[in-house]
Amino acid sequence: MPDFVTSYLGSTLTPGEAGNQFWALVYVFVIFAGVSLAVMSMNWLERKALAHFQIRLGPMRTGPHGLLQPIADAIKLLLKEDIIPAGADRFVFWVAPLIGLLAAFTVYTVIPFGPSQAVSDMNIGILFMLGVSSLGVLGVVVAGWASNSNYPLIGALRSSAQMVSYEVAMGLAVVSAILMTSLNETGTGTLSMIGIVRAQQEQGVWFIFKFFPLGLIAFIVFAIAMVAETNRAPFDMAEAESELTAGYHTEYSGLRWSLFMLAEYAAMISVSSIAVTLWLGGWMRPFSRLLRGSAWDLIFSLFPAVTFMGLAAVAFVGVVRMPRRSDFKVQKIGLAVFGWLLGFIALMLLIIAIAGRSNGAAIPSTVNQSIGYIYWFLLKVAVFMYLFIWYRATWPRYRFDQLMRVGWKVLLPISLTVLVATAIVGILLS
């Protein structure tokens, strides 16, 4: 591997901290491309998973098992006519999705994929994330207003009222996690995203398990609020199809509409990363205290390779199970190539994991460690992404008054109580 790649992968500094802005720019592009790719695959996964929840097949025609569906969707959206309603405020109509996207993407600056795998480590990280992601509300309000149509306006008002209501409970839940970071010798905590994970590392416990069940309750409050915050089912008042058509983006079409979708999914990933960072130990592998030693380290470092092997195996099973007819030949070859690709990635990861064992090898062990950090972080986020789909398949939508009641009368008192209880327990135990 080229020297600079390994030196970056194994660095103990974030690009922002090192002051190397070119490297930061590379990270920014990698994250932008990665999130866009993740959103596209989420789109496919959501359709497939929802279909299987309802005992349907979902997309099957575009590519093997509909794997090319996101690409087909993207081309369709690109070619679709872009309609701006006659009475719309053209400038605001144009700016609104951009506000949402900027808010959803800028927060990725501070998301810690590993101890040094973040674009930058701001010391107000979590505050920055909460603040900037709350700016997405502005995009929603403005989009509904600019459309000059009744459904978008009502949808925008509803979803913005919902987003701000749940932000209160969300903020209080976050404060109770911040409070736990200060329970060390120096007595001061941190707001930095990397610092929060480090605090969990030092205290040897994920904050979800700290002061059981207080950490757990705060986490649950956050997990509920974050679903409402991203306008997802069962809180998807914005897209209550039966009453509001599509909510605030009813009048948006084509690529402009897809920008809203991109922002929504990017926001889902970023709030999940907050939850993972604050309560689920961020990049730490599970049982890092309980199962220690080099043997366990080796076993856990094989996980990324094993995951990709599993995915490759799933692809190959799909190839075998395809009907033995000549018109399935292209699909079969396509899926097999996809499987080989996954298998190749698995092989590379395996080589890195094994070669990284010995010191002074061509691939330094820090590369292997970095891959482990990123893997565990992404795996935890992926669990949340799956939960988002699962919620949508399982729970019926809330009515708007019920929604506001849950936000203001249930979550807010619970999070306040948990905060005060955490503070009192923290004082008593120290």
Binding site: N20, D89, N123, I124, L127, F128, V141, S160, V164
Partner: protein, 186 residues
């Protein structure tokens, strides 16, 4: 391995802070100008968001990250949502018909120049307070410093503890006022 990074660090470390300052200040002033000249109130609101965010950027460059975070959360995220809701509450079409810069502009001008004179006076008088070069503050402790000012140290009142407790009363009054004004007595 890290030596390569540290080497680039040494050459690239001084960030062009003045350029950021001038860029952000220009952005803030231009968009503030747009706020008062746009006829469409929502356009004004969007310009105001830009102003508030560039001021937040200025705070960041002044080593006050916590203040920047507060600026983003409270002003750009909270107050602007309130503003937009209020803008939507009133009839926008009427504001087009009304004359801009009505007879009140001399008063506004007088107030603005008075404020400017005050700033100038404070700047000239208190010149010693303004550093003539960049100061290296321990910005990582910005949040802790604010905590110290607000809450003091263990067992000791901070400089602004009393004001902070009074602030809760202010917020209480705001809650009462909002509900009393909007909700009819049951």
């Amino acid at each position: 391995m890290n030596s390569a990074i540290n080497a680039t660090n040494a050459t690239m470390a001084p960030v062009a802070t003045p350029y950021f300052f001038y860029g952000l200040a220009t952005l803030a002033i231009v968009s503030a100008f747009l706020v008062i000249t746009r006829r469409n109130v929502v356009h004004s609101a969007l310009a105001l968001i830009v102003t508030l965010l560039s001021v937040a950027g200025l705070y960041l460059m002044l080593y006050a990250p916590f203040v920047a975070g507060v600026q983003i959360i409270v002003y750009a995220g909270g107050v602007m949502v309130l503003f937009l809701f209020v803008i939507m509450l009133v009839n926008i079409d009427r504001s087009y018909k009304e004359k801009r810069f009505s007879g009140l502009w001399p008063i506004g001008l007088a107030a603005a120049s008075a404020l400017f004179t005050l700033f100038l006076f404070a700047f000239i008088k208190g010149r010693a307070l303004f550093p003539d070069r960049m100061m290296l503050l321990p910005e990582s402790s910005n949040t802790q410093q604010i905590a110290g000012l607000l809450y003091g140290d263990a067992g000791k009142m901070g400089q602004y503890t009393f004001a902070f407790e009074i602030a809760s009363l202010l917020l209480l009054v705001a809650i009462l006022a909002a509900v009393v004004m909007t909700k009819k007595r049951a």
